[in-house]
């Protein structure tokens, strides 16, 4: 990108803790400090929201060049061109104020420390301090800043203010008003980002309580983001609370697969069980948010319906067999088919790597009948997209599909006419999700089906294989805006579960097509060799935030509005 035509950003000299730095004019003091490794503690400030300056935790000592009185000589610059700084006795908030030429900031002075200690003490006097039974413990800003800025004891000898506890403010969220530090982040989020201003404060002074407005509920599809940004344990998720102490959670970076947006997420798991998904900031995709629909769509991972072993239909119904035997059984059946007697139904939920292996399989099986199952829902004006497949763009690119789902009709016709005798169904439940019937599937000679869960389609299949779900695999996907993003494995699937690219690789081998693929990196390498768009890339080059891959005209409504607010200087972004 070229910066031509853009006005040059004016840089200002700022002294932070004795050292001079340069920052673009307009930089918030708190961001300037952060950029040079001087973290300023804060509660109410959130770069994606307006700055009310209410918590006062970010107070710092500030100074400006002395202003000469009439008749006085202006102060002299030192050899580096800096004016002396006269420090102002009144501290200023670093979150909402911007840097100015020759400004001085002290994040480490007596005054700054005294301010932080004062705010910490005041925040805690009426706080219940029930950390042992608080779900926030371990990721609580009050706890963290108490360690750094608290003064250990308490001088408070009075009775604490009593407030409502365990308040039901919406279907997915619970509020403990005694823990609320009134930072208003949740209020601002619901108002400014979710356009659903149902939260507010009532009463005043120390008796202020957060509440939902009369007759309202915090029920919008983005409500759980308030739990993430609440710096304390005031807002907790009904789904996650009391399930696991956060310090036991292993965190892995991945993406949400519940729609084509591909919101960046962190998967929190312990011992192969997923406990929560939380959004991970990516300013090209999801800002710092995700929708509740995607966030909560993981419980099937821990379901009792998970397939755990390869199954082959025998005389007595499905029987557990070893992986090698299952693959061989499938290869034997598929190997007997002529060209175009097999249809391959893959999924928009497969990674590019899995789709690439599926494409190989299609060519080994000599079939033109290849498609995926489209999946759609209502788009909202924020993040959630109508396309509920996470990798439609990958399927189009890798499988060469123009219009996903278009071939399904031909396939069903072929099945009805007996031209198509076998189906390979990768990670799709055709009966529930694609309108196929058990009767039409029952007419086929052979069905191979991979899926994470037991399902009606599996009932009709001859070979049923446990395919890994999104938290159990590595690979890449292309979201609706054309961005190539990476999934990382957080958990191992139950039992004998395997990733689809491995299953298909083994099947291709059993069908006589050797391929020299051992690792997912090998798949990517071959894919990059065959599909121009991937040229020069590797899984590791994709990085945690993905890379732009395809040009699309897809706009992300939430990001568009956020960028407008950033341009106006209302938020930092």
């Amino acid at each position: 990108m070229s910066d031509e035509g853009k006005p040059a950003v004016e840089m200002v000299d700022v002294q932070i803790d004795g050292e001079w730095h340069q920052f673009p004019k307009g930089t918030r003091m708190i961001e300037a400090c952060r950029q040079v490794g001087k973290e300023v503690p804060h509660y109410c400030y959130h770069p994606k929201l307006t700055s009310p300056g209410n918590c006062r935790m970010c107070l710092v000592e500030m100074g400006m060049p002395p202003r000469p009185r009439p008749g006085e000589d202006p102060p002299e610059k030192d050899e580096n061109g800096h004016l002396p700084i006269s420090w102002i006795p009144r501290p200023v908030i670093a979150c909402a104020n911007t840097v100015a030429p020759n400004m001085g900031i002290r994040t480490d002075s007596d005054l700054t420390h005294a301010c932080r200690q004062g705010v910490m003490e005041l925040l805690l006097i009426n706080h219940p301090l029930d950390c042992p039974i608080c779900d926030q413990a371990g990721e609580c800003r009050l706890q963290e800043f108490s360690v750094e800025h608290g003064n250990g004891g308490s001088r408070f000898r009075e009775q604490k203010v009593k407030k409502p506890k365990n308040v039901d403010i919406g279907p997915r969220i619970r509020l403990d008003d005694e823990r609320c530090i009134m930072c208003s982040r949740c209020i601002r989020f619901t108002d400014e980002v979710a356009d659903d201003p149902v939260l507010g404060f009532t009463d005043r002074g120390s008796h202020t309580v957060l509440t939902v407005h009369p007759g309202q509920q915090l029920a919008n599809n983005y409500s759980l983001n308030t739990v993430d940004i609440c710096p304390v344990g005031a807002l907790t998720s009904n789904d996650f609370r009391f399930q696991m102490r956060v310090w036991f959670l292993k965190e892995d970076k991945s993406i949400c697969t519940s729609c084509g947006r591909g919101c960046n997420i962190t998967i929190g798991s312990r011992e192969d069980e997923v406990y929560r998904l939380t959004p991970r900031e990516n300013n090209e995709v999801n800002s710092a948010w995700m929708c509740d629909h995607g966030r909560l769509n993981f419980h099937y991972l821990n379901s009792e319906m998970r397939l755990t072993d390869p199954l082959v239909r025998g005389a007595e119904g499905h029987e557990t067999v070893a992986w090698g035997d299952a693959i061989q059984a499938a290869a034997d059946a598929l190997g007997r088919c002529e060209a175009n007697e097999i249809a391959l139904i893959a999924s928009g939920r497969l990674t590019n790597e899995e789709l690439f292996m599926a494409r190989r399989l299609a060519s080994v099986m000599k079939t033109e009948f290849v498609d995926i199952v489209p999946r759609s829902g209502e788009a909202d004006d924020y993040l959630l997209a109508a396309d509920r497949n996470p990798n439609t763009n990958g399927a189009k690119l890798v499988l060469g599909l123009d219009e996903p789902g278009q071939a399904l009709k031909d396939i069903r016709e072929g099945m009805a006419q007996g031209r198509i005798k076998a189906l390979v169904v990768l990670q799709e439940n055709l009966i529930d999700d694609a309108g196929f019937t058990a009767e039409e599937l029952g007419k086929l000679d052979f069905i191979l089906h991979t899926y994470p869960l037991a399902n009606p389609t599996a009932e009709t299949a001859d070979v049923v294989l446990p395919g890994a779900a999104f938290s159990e695999k590595r690979g890449s996907m292309i979201n609706l805006t054309g961005r190539l993003q990476r999934l990382n494995r957080a958990t191992d699937g139950p039992g004998q579960t395997r990733e689809v690219w491995e299953i298909v690789r083994d099947l291709i081998q059993a069908l006589g097509g050797g391929n020299g693929i051992y690792l997912i990196e090998d798949v990517f390498k071959q894919m990059a060799g065959e599909i121009a768009e991937f040229e020069g890339l590797t899984l590791s080059k994709i990085g945690d935030l993905g890379v732009p891959l395809l040009e699309t005209d897809e706009k992300i409504p939430l990001l568009e509005r956020e960028r407008e607010r950033v341009a106006k200087g209302i938020i930092v972004g």
Binding site: L122, L123, T208
Partner: protein, 466 residues
């Protein structure tokens, strides 16, 4: 003009200089427009609309009138803060929230001379380019609101409001907005939020200085009722002439509201700095109650720092060191500031030696704990903490160390909050401890230093003992 007669028993003190309060308690006077017009009403507005707006602002600057709402900021300078290249609408707001304890002047203007305020506002609006103005009147003044509504309707009818005022092309509408029943609604940015229909949470400054980003983020001038009334008289007299009233940098008249332990509490309009605190108390208010001594005076509304009755103040005046006794303090902005307090809203609260100091402080703390808006941490938490500590001091359940804690809490608020309520609520505590530490400590009990004084902990301890 015939000498003005005042209602029997309500005659002004001879040392008063009645200008703003000229018609307050006046015999035969009523708030109707006819009465007002009968004495040259709206003549200054007629004059104003034929002037250059800037010329009016210049007169106000020359007059040097300082805000009567609390901070004492020069009105003309404030008007000049509207950005010169502004293209947005400009608003003017009359702050009639009058909620500082000890202050009761704006209500008399509103009740008895509403047209004086409307004329002053109209002139100010013309000067700053506002076509829309609001009177934000405190909720607890229902009658005042009704009187203003009526006065506005009258002024409209006579062409002093509305379109093409007095034959010029100046249009102006004034609306009365009833307040939301909270002290913080008087803080100008809280007021603006309230006017916008929100909770009156004060805004951070920077960036939200009203003159640049006020109501609906447009330039907005907020002035006190009394300040705006002065505008009319400045135009009448001319800025220079007006500036001869009072003392240099402390010009004009102001209304002092005296309450507390004096024989005759009330309001007195005086030339700023021309009367001393002693004259106010002893002459105008008829002195203290029999046999009493001044223990303390809060000279500018409850948030002003307290002065001790037996204190002497070493200050600089005109470059010279002078020593003043409490009674000798001239009632002006600069001297009161030099004495460590402020002229504030003009509310003078006299406390004699019959009062318990801890009770007085607790009373003030109770007010501020009740009125903190709760937006920012230090004030929200600290104001109630201070009240709870002084509750115990009053109840004899405090230890001497509690006074130190009290002081530390106040200092954790002072200078660290969003709005000046932080100072308003911490200065009383800071100054009472500074000036009356012995008295406060005398109300405490050293045996309680380590004792449990909180019913919650008491219960827990009893439970554990079982």
């Amino acid at each position: 003009m015939a000498a003005i007669k005042y209602l029997a028993g309500k005659e002004p003190h001879p040392n008063e200089h009645r200008m703003i309060f000229r018609n307050v308690d006046r015999e035969g006077w009523d708030p109707s427009i006819d009465t007002y017009l009968g004495e040259g009403g709206y003549e200054q507005l007629k004059k104003a609309v034929a002037m250059e707006p800037q010329a009016i602002t210049d007169e106000v600057k020359k007059a040097g009138v300082r805000g009567r709402g609390g901070a004492g900021f020069p009105a003309g300078v404030k008007w000049g803060f509207i950005p010169p290249n502004n293209t947005k609408p400009v608003y003017l707001i009359c702050n009639a929230d009058e909620s500082e304890p000890g202050t009761f002047k704006d209500r008399y203007i509103i009740h008895q001379d509403p047209h004086q305020l409307i004329e002053g506002m109209a002139i100010a609006c013309f000067a700053v380019g506002a076509k829309l103005a609001y009177i934000y009147i405190r909720e607890e003044f229902p009658e005042g609101a009704a009187i203003l509504e009526k006065a506005i309707a009258e002024a409209h009818e006579k062409g002093f409001l509305g379109k093409g005022i007095c034959g010029s092309d100046f249009d102006l509408e004034i609306y009365v907005h009833r307040g939301a029943g909270a002290y913080i609604c008087g803080e100008e940015t809280g007021l603006i939020e309230s006017l916008e229909g929100k909770r009156p949470y004060p805004r951070i400054k920077p960036p939200y200085f009203p003159a640049a980003m006020g109501l609906y983020l447009c330039p907005t001038i907020v002035n006190n009722v009394e300040t705006l009334c002065h505008v009319k008289h400045i135009l009448d007299m001319g800025g220079e002439e007006y500036a001869k009233l009072g003392t240099p940098n402390n010009t004009g008249t102001r209304i002092l509201c005296v309450s507390g332990d004096v024989q005759k509490p009330g309001y007195f309009e005086v030339q700023v700095g021309k009367v001393t605190l002693g004259e106010v108390i002893n002459d105008m208010c008829g002195g203290l109650k029999p046999g009493r001594k001044i223990q303390a005076v809060i000279p500018g509304g409850s948030s002003a720092k307290v002065l001790r009755g037996d204190e002497t103040f070493k200050i600089k005046k005109g470059g010279e060191d002078v020593e003043l006794k409490l009674e000798d303090i001239p009632m002006d902005f600069d001297t009161l500031a030099a004495c460590g307090s402020m002229a504030g809203s003009g509310g003078v609260i006299v406390i004699d030696d019959s009062r318990s100091i801890s009770w007085v402080l607790n009373n003030i703390n109770a007010f501020y704990a009740h009125e903190s808006c709760g937006q920012c941490t230090p004030c929200r938490e600290g104001s109630l903490w201070m009240k709870k500590i002084t509750d115990r001091v009053v109840a004899g359940k405090a230890a001497p160390s509690d006074i130190d804690t009290l002081d530390a809490v106040a200092r954790n608020i002072d200078g660290r909050t969003i709005c000046a309520f932080g100072e308003a609520c911490s200065w009383p505590t800071e100054s009472f401890i500074q000036k009356f530490r012995d008295e406060l400590v005398a109300s405490t009990n050293p045996d309680l230093d380590e004792a449990i004084v909180n019913p919650e902990t008491e219960l827990a301890a009893a439970h554990l003992a079982r």
